[in-house]
Symmetry: C6
Amino acid sequence: MELIPGNSLITASPEDGRALAVLIARNTIHAIQPDVEVLRRNRGEDAADPDGRAVAAHMISIEFATIAAANNYWR
Amino acid sequence: MELIPGNSLITASPEDGRALAVLIARNTIHAIQPDVEVLRRNRGEDAADPDGRAVAAHMISIEFATIAAANNYWR
Amino acid sequence: MELIPGNSLITASPEDGRALAVLIARNTIHAIQPDVEVLRRNRGEDAADPDGRAVAAHMISIEFATIAAANNYWR
Amino acid sequence: MELIPGNSLITASPEDGRALAVLIARNTIHAIQPDVEVLRRNRGEDAADPDGRAVAAHMISIEFATIAAANNYWR
Amino acid sequence: MELIPGNSLITASPEDGRALAVLIARNTIHAIQPDVEVLRRNRGEDAADPDGRAVAAHMISIEFATIAAANNYWR
Amino acid sequence: MELIPGNSLITASPEDGRALAVLIARNTIHAIQPDVEVLRRNRGEDAADPDGRAVAAHMISIEFATIAAANNYWR
């Protein structure tokens, strides 16, 4: 699995940049969780778990800051 | 649902930029929470839950830093 | 209520910039907490709650970083 | 009490900049904690509380990043 | 053990940069955990522990931001 | 004890920069923990405590971002 889908931080728009941030966060969480069975079970719990959402949300904010800078903020 | 409302980080003022940061944070939290029923229930609990507020608040600060840079700080 | 008091990130001094960071953090916490009754009750508890202080403190640090950059660090 | 001692982010050296970051973090924590009695009690507990140290440590890191940028990293 | 594999932040691509961020995060976590026995035991628990994943994920996001800036975002 | 060993953020290499980040994080944690006895006891517990590792790890990531910028990423 790629960690950075498309192997580039350049996107056509802020919306695409945000979607990329979501994917990068997800791929990293998968990459650092080697036990697939545990991952599946946790994924089900995460849907109802505010803490699990917090981790993903925080990552996405930081990834998006990096992607936005890479794209010169789509100015 | 759009992740970045208006598909742009450029706003007329800091106040508009902060409001955009709040919306981006909310939209991401919704996007990574697929179970609507759980979301509704959690939303009610979040109102009284300092931890839920903390996650949103932290996201908003980081999103605003990105938006402020995109707008060259509205100087 | 304004999210960004004065609708500007530009301040006369670092001290004023820090005070603005404190206000922006407070206003956002209020804005994402719609239930006033819960807010009042939590506000009382927050005074003795290290976690509540942590959330506000962390927000203020990030807001101040943004404000300091906006003011070119008052150099 | 000043939030930013000396009302400036400019310091003579990295060591002085780090000491300023520590003071700014402390002053903010005091400013957002209005109940002095609670503060005193918490201060005693904080010495043994890894979580209390975590909040202060995290703040100091972010304040120092801001101060270092303000001083062009003392290059 | 090296803290920064290859002693450089420059990589050929975003994918390589992300992989480097993962390694830097892991090496630092090992470096600050001197008791190997505890590390091994914790490593087994971490696989199922959302909190352990959160720490690593957060670190990787920040390391990647630094690496991306070092590489001028591979533009 | 110095907060910034050598009173400089400039290092010869990324590896040296990372080692400096580890030292700065440690020195700050010591500086904000005045009770040596508690520190010693906590240090023993920290070795097995994922939360203690998390605080240090997070600090190191942020300090390294500052040091990397100071060294223009050793390009």
